[in-house]
């Protein structure tokens, strides 16, 4: 009960990339008051909040220190069905928001490639999605949030009130305090389907030229890119761009009040809708990867074969109707898909490059990657729109490239080499995915770091918030 000292569990934790793995002391508050009680308890030297553990590296790890896991603080607090403003606690997952609000005609304004992310995590990483070129990042849709500051006081932060703390917290990787609740603006949708145009680009030039020319016609735009192709086909890609399908344009069998949206009351698929698997909303993944793949399963040869086949089976085609699950969250269908990379794990490597130097940067990096022979399957390329105001927010106008690279010998020096190339082209690394960046490179990539540090220092004079990432990158000092 409240009067007792908060209890914690020692856990071997990792991010989604399963590298690194560290011992952390996890607090799991069931009441709001327990979060403040934990900070005041003196039981650990520092704390970092953690959500569903989908950041890839060490962002939500705090080796031999405290992790606050407010996963049970996941209550919807209010919803205005006229404006679509949802107030919820920070432990609410995007999956829950979809489950309960998509059937009422509301969808996430910005979503990453997984729906197993909490609202708190979405704010801390200032996540982006396939619509960044048009709508920007998650913080554009955060009206305000209540932040439990390291001092123990709760601050209502918005772009108008405590604005400097607001912009330090979005993208601030949990280092300014614990977001307790937030008000988010959802977007109206007519159906749970997207009309997608597929376009096969023969190489990088073709892909970028097509994106630059016509991305603005699409709410969502993303390209799968073959990171192993070399020479004339370097950067060959499949562009997938789409818009939410208006209900009136759906085939008759998919129409109706639900349009592929699941009935939240029953918690089961709507038996009347007659809609297939891709359209209903599973609350849990359908498949579970219950064991680690051996580490050779995704080596250069298998990935090259996969990439070639993937490129070959796709055809340029327009107005393909795709269910939102398949379009936004293809990997969510497999629980623990990260085990594909075997016990050693993998790193996700995501960079953003500015418009002017983006082409040259992408060419340099893809070339280096192909020559290295390090397999990357699921490489993703997309255009970014304008950068937001978050001091440590990742997106900047230009391009972003995301790669999965299996952990293997020599990986860290190799990534440092890529970091340098990124930096030389004026780019930066996404903190939510990073596990190996060096502090000096980080400082060069994020020019607003000093302003962030100044605000953080003032807010957290007792140095109560830290993480393994924060120490590695000297985000806080």
């Amino acid at each position: 009960m409240t009067d007792r000292k908060p209890s914690f569990a020692p856990e071997r934790l990792s991010g989604w990339g399963r590298y690194p793995v560290e011992t952390c002391y996890v607090f799991r508050p069931e009441k709001r008051s327990e979060v403040a009680a934990t900070l005041a308890s003196g039981l650990q030297t520092s704390y970092i909040p953690r959500g569903l553990g989908r950041s890839y590296g060490d962002a939500a790890l705090n080796e031999n220190a405290g992790v606050i896991w407010p996963i049970l603080l996941n209550r919807f607090l209010s919803f205005d069905s006229a404006s679509g403003v949802l107030e919820c606690e920070s432990g609410v997952s995007l999956a829950e928001i979809i489950q309960f609000f998509l059937p009422r005609g509301w969808f996430l304004p910005v979503t990453p490639g997984t729906k197993y992310v909490t609202a708190g995590g979405a704010i801390a990483a200032d996540i982006h999605g396939k619509n960044h070129h048009r709508d920007g990042s998650f913080s554009n849709f955060v009206l305000d949030f209540r932040l439990l500051a390291p001092t123990g006081e709760v601050l209502l932060c918005s772009p108008a009130a405590h604005s400097e703390i607001f912009w330090a917290t979005v993208g601030g990787m949990g280092l300014t305090g614990v977001v307790m609740s937030a008000r988010l603006r959802l977007r109206r949708v007519d159906s749970a389907y997207v009309f997608v145009d597929f376009f096969k680009a023969a190489n990088l030039e073709d892909a970028l030229a097509t994106m630059d020319a016509s991305d603005e016609r699409y709410e969502y735009s993303v390209a799968w890119i073959d990171a192993l192709a070399t020479g004339k086909t370097m950067g060959r890609s499949v562009l997938m761009r789409g818009n939410h399908a208006p209900e009136a344009e759906l085939p008759a069998r998919l129409r109706g009040p639900q349009s592929g949206m699941q009935d939240p009351q029953s918690g089961m698929r709507n038996p009347q809708s007659g809609i297939g698997n891709d359209s209903s909303i599973p609350t849990r993944p359908q498949w579970n990867l219950f064991m680690d793949f051996p580490s050779w399963a995704l080596d250069r040869l298998t990935v090259q074969a996969f990439n070639t086949a993937y490129y070959a089976v796709h055809r340029t085609a327009s107005r393909q109707l795709v269910g939102f699950e398949k379009f936004f969250y293809p990997l969510d269908a497999i629980s623990q898909w990260n085990r594909m990379y075997g016990k050693r794990g993998f790193v996700q490597y995501q960079i953003a490059l500015p418009q002017v130097s983006g082409r040259a940067g992408l060419r340099t990096i893809l070339d280096r990657l192909a020559r290295s022979g390090r397999a990357s399957f699921l490489a993703v390329l997309k255009r970014f729109g304008d950068a937001g105001n978050g001091l440590l927010s990742f997106p900047l106008r230009g391009y972003t490239l995301a790669l999965d690279i299996p952990a293997a010998r020599g990986l860290v020096p190799f990534l440092h080499e890529l970091d340098r190339m990124t930096l030389d082209h004026g780019g930066r690394i996404y903190l939510a995915k990073d596990a190996v960046l060096r502090a000096e490179d980080f400082a060069a990539m994020y020019p607003k770091l000093e302003s962030f540090r100044a605000i953080q220092r003032k807010l957290d004079a007792q140095r109560l918030f830290s993480s393994s990432m924060a120490r590695r990158l000297r985000i806080v000092d």
């Binding site: 009960m1 409240t2 007792r4 209890s7 914690f8 569990a9 996890v26 607090f27 799991r28 069931e30 009441k31 709001r32 008051s33 049970l72 209550r75 919807f76 607090l77 209010s78 919803f79 606690e89 309960f100 939240p264 009351q265 918690g267």
Partner: protein, 246 residues
């Protein structure tokens, strides 16, 4: 819509049970010590399941005010009130309780005296209406006293006996009484207390309780296999049992 009162709905099994009843379209009265938490849960269940949920402050340790606090919960529900569930439990700090009588007192009062008094008030209410159910969470710890939690266990054992008598008493007025004995459940009662075997998620336990209420069971173990485990534990001769470290 039928209404159910859940006393101790703040967290853990009580909260999961509230969600289970809401999922099955019951209106709810959530009672507990922390009104702010209850109001957040009330808003949440209303938004998720479109049911009416009211939050009321009730503290089972405040014996004097118990009758009036519960009356305030019960009165507005009127005849729609289908039943009540008592989800009150305090494991406390068994180590500290050996040196600190206050802690021992609190464990006994929460798990037995306060719980039984609250049930007395509820029993009178339902007895007059001559219908409804009363469900209360006891514990497998009440089946046999052991070294590590005998204050908690004895209070829960007392509650189990109380519920036996109450079931007998209320049977004659058509009110059904359900005794629930959960095993280890993944709530703050066990979180951070080292690795325990067979820990069940509160949602699964809540489904079991909901089912027990609807099928008018008398005594249920959740999950079911605790009935087997506790049967075995009770078979161990006292001469041997007293030497065990558990």
């Amino acid at each position: 819509m039928p209404t159910v009162l859940i006393l101790g709905a703040n967290a853990g099994i009580g909260r999961a049970l509230a969600a289970e009843f809401a999922l099955h379209q019951h209106d709810l009265i959530l009672a507990g010590r922390d009104l702010e938490e209850l109001q957040a849960l009330a808003a949440d269940l209303n938004l998720r399941h479109n049911v009416n949920v009211r939050a009321e402050r009730v503290d089972v340790l405040n014996f004097e005010a118990l009758e009036s606090a519960l009356a305030a919960c019960l009165a507005p529900a009127g005849d729609s009130l289908e039943g009540a569930v008592l989800c009150v439990g305090y494991l406390g700090d068994p180590e500290a309780a050996r040196k600190d009588l206050k802690e021992a007192h609190r464990i006994l009062d929460t798990n037995f005296t306060g719980s039984a008094l609250a049930l007395e008030v509820l029993a009178n209410h339902f007895e007059q209406k001559r219908k409804g159910f009363i469900c209360a969470l006891s514990s497998v710890a009440g089946d046999r006293g052991r070294q590590s939690n005998y204050l908690y266990g004895s209070a829960k054992g007392g509650l189990t006996t109380y519920l036996q008598g109450l079931r007998n008493q209320l049977y004659h007025s058509g009110v059904h009484v359900i005794t629930v004995k959960p095993g280890f459940v993944d709530t703050r009662m066990v979180y951070g207390r080292g690795k325990l075997p067979l820990v069940a998620p509160p949602e699964a336990v809540a489904r079991g309780i909901y089912h027990a209420v609807k099928s008018r069971k008398n005594v249920v173990y959740v999950p079911w296999f605790w009935r087997v485990i506790m049967f075995m534990v009770c078979l161990i001769p006292e001469e041997l049992f007293k030497k065990l470290r558990m």
